[in-house]
Symmetry: C2
Subunit: 186 residues, 2 copies
Amino acid sequence: MGDGTTPDFATRIGVRIRRLRHERNVSLSALARDAGVGKATLSGLEDGSRGNPTIETLYAIAGRLGVPIGALLPDPPQEGEKPLETIHGTAVSASLLETFSDADTDTELFRLHIRPGYVQHSPAHPPGTVEYLTVFTGTAKVGPPDALLTVGPGGHVSWTADVPHTYTAISGEDVFASLLIRTPRN
Amino acid sequence: MGDGTTPDFATRIGVRIRRLRHERNVSLSALARDAGVGKATLSGLEDGSRGNPTIETLYAIAGRLGVPIGALLPDPPQEGEKPLETIHGTAVSASLLETFSDADTDTELFRLHIRPGYVQHSPAHPPGTVEYLTVFTGTAKVGPPDALLTVGPGGHVSWTADVPHTYTAISGEDVFASLLIRTPRN
DNA sequence: CTCCCCTGTTCCGTATACGGAACAAGGTAC
DNA sequence: GTACCTTGTTCCGTATACGGAACAGGGGAG
């Protein structure tokens, strides 16, 4: 490996950890102790000599710093242009930004890009699934074919997505939006 | 280690990877090859027998799947209560889930928890900043003091946040919500 | 049937991330 | 001065994550 990965990958993580640690005025020893990792590990990580930490290690450190893992890492990988083809993505590309599980619901947050000129079809999701769309730029027409909703910049709509539904960018403009999909568990 | 970490930590990652892979209709072999990791590694990761992957491995896989690292991981660690210093969080804890930069705007996505019984004050953000709040549970009253907005479960509001504003959970119920803050750059 | 290409799993030697311990250096107390 | 507590670094044996290779099984093609 090591080829696709950025060269200074190691140091970048180290710098972020050290910065976050200093912001909180905790010593290396203290953070290591509280996070349950060896001082050697943390020291090596921070100065970049230990390049490739384990998730468990990173988790412990991030947890103790009160930040999500993502905050410790260089910007998302996104090799080349693989935006994550959603369902049959000619019109829509969706990047899954985050998933989190509440007591009885799974939530997925996507960042959505709808290209004009096509209609994106999405099949029915499990019963009770609700989608929340917040549009930042452009105007979109979304929802079940018999109950399409139009939503412009700054607008927000939601619909139950347990029936087939579509996404369309209208007025020839690209649509950028965030999409939250909430699925009841079981 | 292994004490603070959830027990099924390993399997959770595996399940997510497998689900994302299946959604994309790629085989394990293909993903392993394209991501530049061993099939053994990926296989073990997916079925949970390989519990504690290296960041480099996870990065390669996430990159190839087109998702940020966070999407592969169980909920943010957040040991104890270290919610990422909001403003002066007695009433609100906010976890920064993701930040992304568009051409001229920085977007921050928070997961918000508003505790009832207090009023959370937030100072003015830079001019042009807009906040988008989507409430999942509870009812919140938010916005500038002279233009408070009430929003219940499933509801969504937005307001320009370049003036001081407040967050309150009303009706004695905890509010869980997602908050997007969009700040124009320069 | 054989041959080929694919699937995902398991085996195993090597590389390395891990934490405990020892360490030098800097403060403070007395 | 000594004694003690920090700080962050380095040494080193052990545990383990890694990928290459071998593997069993499933479809087609002919």
